[in-house]
């Protein structure tokens, strides 16, 4: 009787997860979607307390209270700009949990078939990599380890580490015997690979990496679901695994790179210097002139990038948008898929600042309209607006789909100084005849633009 009830509850929560994710595919129903999935989670968690043959209830409840409590507190107070590292952290915790399940099962060693043993080991490997890798990604995004760490022979070293953990895992699966010492070595190798694989990856590649780790955790959860014969885990884990894989591919495609290229090659170290030569000069402008230009423009497109997040300029941007709209200016936002540090990062920040989502346009939607745009305001974006991706086959970012900002009548770039962007690639846009540079802090400059527009009348 209890068994049937548990099975039925897992079935219901699997349905709720899928429907919840489905509802999240439209901005109108998305809010309800997460609630549906949340109910599914609650049902599955509560019924698991009645799982047959369970003990350790007291420490279990304590663990849930500590883990859940800390996550609730941190999730409530985290700033929207810090969302990428928080998601990386929670995702890593999921991977770690999958690894822990595998560790308990492996130590017990009560496997009915080699298939289950192999799945437990595969889940342990993937979960541990996701755990360690996500924690490194978290540390990087948090600013604890900003510089990508690279050393000669790194790729060979990392691949040998991965090969060693896979080989040991395979040996454990086939051998049938599970000595505790070797299990420990296996986890150490997997965790070590997770750390090493995430270390060389730079900030601009983070959207790809975060969604990859998300997919990996999903897969690890699904594998451990097979081991525990738990359909809710299998279905939810697999759905996340495949959805995450697709999202990772979308992100990689938006950078015109393969996932392997993101993971194994260090961006900006491949020949960038000589290839990025440009003619012309950067022409500075001051905020008053730009304010006048925008106030009398018909169409303005704002292009945000990671720099907007750093400067916390999104609220000022919203103020500027409303001001311009009240003058009858048509204001749109152009969002590149990999702008920021996670998929859709810019959308979240602009939403936080109350910018309505129907003003935000995707790459394909906005590109045809740049030619009709009077002023394109680039704030904190660099590589995603670099026309060299179209024109210069020698450039390291050649072939990457970009926002064709250079086709606008006037381009204003808000930038801290004259330095190159994250990737170290020269940006032809900054030297173009129709581009003017507005040097300064993003938030302060947009503030000045607001004043300038206000004083036009």
């Amino acid at each position: 009787m209890m068994d049937t009830l548990i099975a039925a509850s897992y079935f219901v929560s699997a349905i709720l997860f899928i429907l919840g994710l489905k509802r999240m595919s439209s901005p109108v129903t998305a809010r309800g979607g997460i609630v549906w999935a949340g109910v599914g989670m609650l049902v599955a968690t509560l019924i698991t307390f009645f799982y047959p043959g369970m003990h350790n209830y007291l420490p279990m409840t304590v663990a849930i209270a500590i883990g859940g409590g800390m996550a609730f507190w941190s999730g409530r107070k985290v700033a929207m700009t810090d969302m990428p590292q928080m998601i990386a952290l929670y995702n890593g915790m999921g991977g770690g949990a999958a690894g822990a399940i595998a560790a308990v099962e492996l130590l017990k060693g009560e496997f009915t078939s080699t298939t289950f043993l192999a799945l437990a080991i595969a889940g342990a490997l993937i979960g541990s990599i996701s755990f360690a890798g996500s924690l490194v990604a978290f540390a990087k995004l948090q600013g604890w380890a900003r510089k990508p760490l690279r050393f000669p022979g790194q790729q060979v070293f990392n691949l040998s580490l991965l090969a060693a953990s896979v080989a040991l895992g395979a040996w454990l699966a086939l051998n049938g015997q599970l000595p505790a010492a070797l299990i420990l070595v296996f986890f150490a190798l997997a965790l070590g690979y997770g750390v090493m694989m995430a270390l060389p990856i730079g900030g601009a590649d983070m959207p790809v990496v975060i969604s990859l780790f998300n997919a990996l955790t999903g897969l690890a959860v699904a594998f451990e679901g097979f081991v525990l014969s738990n359909p809710a885990m299998i279905i939810a884990g697999t759905v996340v695994g495949s959805a995450g894989t697709l999202l990772t591919q979308l992100m990689a495609k938006a950078m015109n790179r393969s996932i392997a290229n993101v993971l194994f090659s260090a961006f900006g170290t491949t020949g960038g210097e000589a290839a990025g030569e440009v003619s012309g000069s950067m022409k500075p402008v001051d905020a008053t002139d730009v304010g006048v230009m925008m106030a009398f423009a018909e169409r303005v497109v704002i292009v945000p990038g990671y720099g907007m997040a750093v400067a916390q300029a999104q609220h000022k941007i919203h103020e500027l948008t409303e001001l311009l709209q009240s003058r009858g200016v048509d204001v749109k936002f152009a969002i590149h898929p990999v702008a920021g540090r996670m998929p859709g990062h810019m959308n979240v920040l602009l939403a936080e600042a109350n910018v309505p989502y129907d003003l935000l346009y995707d790459l394909d939607e906005i590109n045809p309209s740049f030619a009709k745009t009077d002023v394109a305001l680039v704030i904190g974006a660099n590589d995603v607006v670099n026309p060299m991706a179209r024109t210069n086959p020698e450039s390291p970012i050649y072939g990457m789909p970009i926002l064709n900002v250079d086709q606008a009548k006037n381009v204003i770039v808000i930038k801290r100084g004259q330095g190159k962007g994250f990737s170290g690639v020269e940006n032809g846009l900054f030297y173009a005849d129709n581009t003017r540079m507005l040097y300064g802090d993003g938030q302060a400059m947009v503030g000045e633009l607001i004043q300038a527009v206000k004083s036009v009348d």
Binding site: A7, S13, L21, K22, S25, A30, R31, I34, M41, T45, F49, Y51, G53, M54, H55, N56, P59, M60, A63, G67, M70, G75, M86, L89, Y90, M93, G94, G96, A97, A98, A100, I101, V104, E105, L107, I210, N214, V221, E224, G225, N230, P231, M233, I234, I235, A236, T238, V239, V240, S242, A243, G244, P337, M342, P343, G344, N347, N354, Y357, D362
Partner: protein
């Protein structure tokens, strides 16, 4: 409960479901969707509870404890941040959300 080929079928169908769901998602929802799916794999909590509930030696119990702790963090944290993000999305047409 489930064995062999049946498990494989579940895996295949769930994989297609995941692919289908996300392939139609507008770019503006990529972050909430990623963090939503991040929440959904918090279902690992169920497995961690079962593993801990059946742990016998102290070592297994300690590992199980951390498993449950991490999984609870994944589930709760994933829910809270997703909910916060989705709450902010609004259209200019309706005014309110």
């Amino acid at each position: 409960m489930i064995a062999g080929m049946t498990a494989l079928y579940i895996f295949m169908l769930a994989a297609f479901t995941g692919y289908e769901i996300i392939s139609r998602v507008p770019v503006i929802l990529h972050t909430p969707l990623m963090s939503g799916s991040n929440f959904v794999h918090g279902i690992v909590l169920v497995g961690a509870m079962v593993a801990m509930g059946h742990a016998s030696t102290p070592v297994e119990q300690v590992i199980g404890f951390f498993g449950v702790l991490l999984a609870a963090g994944n589930a709760v944290g994933g829910y809270v941040v997703t909910e916060r993000m989705l709450e902010m999305f609004r259209s200019s047409k309706k005014g309110a959300r």
